[in-house]
């Protein structure tokens, strides 16, 4: 990705000063690729805007620094795990792309998920919206999973350990662990198809 001009004190300048420019440039590249799939007309700008907004959230910022920046982390593990951090970045990027599309007022069909509330850029609203939409998307895609996957995930979501699920289903504990990961990855594949797969 090119490095567009950034005013003093802007995101890129800050990253340069912190020695984390290269990692965030690569992260922005990855996000730009995803923004394109989400339907952005200006993926690079959308990626940078998503990063900027993610930096406004202290937990997100701490987690991104920990997981993506090469320099050894001075503090311990962040509050957010990698899954939450990536899910957050996905949600914010989707939000930014929706804003962009809303501004551009595209005259073409948009995915159902992008057709809800208009954007409000305050951080709390953003957080609530990202969480709500994640819930809605996951819920809808979950309903389409095979019954076996739904049942094993339902038991897992009820707080059961693999051993308990294994006893309930009469299966080996390692088998249950495999089913859980397969079910989650299948769920992820369906989410990808629903939210970012329209250009695939």
């Amino acid at each position: 990705m090119n490095s567009p001009a950034d005013p003093p004190g802007g995101l890129l300048s800050t990253l340069r000063e912190r020695g984390a420019f290269d990692e965030y440039r690569r992260l922005a590249c990855a996000l730009a690729s995803r923004a394109g799939r989400l339907g952005s007309r200006d993926p690079e700008n959308a990626a940078q805007e998503a990063l900027r907004r993610s930096f406004e959230n202290p937990k997100s910022r701490q987690a991104m620094d920990y997981y993506f920046v090469e320099a050894s982390p001075s503090a311990g593990a962040p509050e957010w795990d990698l899954a939450r951090t990536l899910a957050w970045l996905h949600g914010v990027l989707q939000f930014v792309v929706r804003e962009e599309r809303s501004r551009a007022a595209f005259h073409r069909e948009v995915p159902a998920v992008a057709a809800s509330d208009p954007a409000d850029s305050s951080r709390d609203v953003l957080t609530a919206m990202v969480e709500r939409e994640t819930q809605a998307i996951v819920g809808d895609c979950f309903a389409g999973l095979d019954r076996e996957y739904r049942e094993v995930l339902t038991l897992r979501m009820a707080g059961m350990r693999y051993g308990e699920i294994a006893r309930r289903l009469g299966a080996n504990e390692n088998t249950v662990a495999t089913w859980v990961s397969r079910a989650i990855r299948e769920l992820g594949r369906r989410i990808r198809k629903r939210t970012g797969g329209q250009h695939e």
């Binding site: 690569r26 997981y67 990698l82 339902t154 992820g188």
Partner: protein, 281 residues
């Protein structure tokens, strides 16, 4: 990147340092970044559901289970050794999602759906047309006839003409004078059907807490004697009875579910529910 590591990421078993290594690797591997992102969205969405608080009754059941485990490990070992297949004897009932041809969308699949109600009231009148605050969510169907109640007494019937999600319109029977605020009673079978549909819909969405909440509410409203349509209904009625504290009824309903020839793994779930109820003292 090994599948084993992706599996562990999906299950949330990577250490922070392992996650860091994986994240940094994904910066140079767009395909890996995609896989991680959508797996992360799936796992985070599921975890958010899991974080919801369990109802008090479920928490009490769990506490009781912990006490049993602490106080009688030997007895539990004996119990487990005697049974095949092994089953968990603690925890809440597990509901089933309904058959492949089930269609839970109409009544219960929306995120902010309310629980079904067994009674409502008249909200508007226009000649013989009556509007009520009950709808398909409560199990109502076009053409059904409902009792109109005043001061606890049935004064006549209305026939439903138009059904919406949470309200409906009806015609009052000839000679019946309906007042605003008159109570409307939903026939028990309709109400239970609505409850079962919502439980199946919540379960299909992976919202076990939501399903249990509906079941607990339906349980509080009394008898469960309706014609069930399959093993999933029998099982879910058993779960309702169990949450309502009627273990004998629950046991009987779970047994009916098993007699309805359920496929695996539904059979396993039902057997587990039955074993747990039998083990309760």
């Amino acid at each position: 990147m090994s599948e084993e590591k992706l599996d562990r990421f999906a299950r949330g078993e990577l250490s922070p340092m392992e996650s860091r290594e994986l994240a940094r690797k994904s910066l140079d591997d767009p395909e890996l970044f995609e896989k991680l992102t959508y797996t992360a969205v799936a796992r985070t969405g599921l975890a958010d559901r899991r974080r919801r608080k369990w109802p008090l009754a479920v928490a009490l059941l769990a506490a009781a289970a912990v006490m049993i485990l602490l106080l009688s490990p030997f007895a539990l070992r004996q119990f487990r050794a005697a049974r095949a297949p092994l089953v968990a004897i603690s925890g809440p009932p597990v509901f089933l999602t309904g058959g492949a041809d089930a269609n839970p969308v109409f009544r219960g699949a929306e995120l902010e759906s309310r629980a079904p109600r067994s009674a409502g009231s008249v909200t508007a009148l226009a000649g013989s047309a009556v509007s009520i605050d009950l709808g398909s969510l409560d199990g109502l169907a076009k053409g059904a006839e409902l009792d109109v109640m005043r001061q606890g007494q049935a004064i006549g019937r209305i026939k439903l003409t138009t059904i919406f999600r949470d309200h409906a319109r009806a015609d009052a029977a000839a000679g019946l004078t309906v007042h605003l605020g008159d109570a409307i009673r939903v026939p028990r079978a309709m109400y239970l059907r609505a409850g079962l549909d919502q439980i199946a819909a919540f379960t299909a969405r992976g919202d076990a807490d939501g399903a249990r909440h509906i079941a607990a509410q339906v349980a509080a409203d009394g008898n469960l004697d309706i014609p069930a349509t399959g093993y999933d209904d029998w099982n879910n009625l058993g779960g309702i009875a169990e949450l309502g504290g009627d273990r004998v009824k629950a046991q009987s309903l779970y047994q009916k579910a098993l007699l309805a020839n359920p496929p695996q793994p539904a059979r396993t779930v039902i057997e587990s529910n039955l074993a747990r109820v039998k083990a309760m003292k």
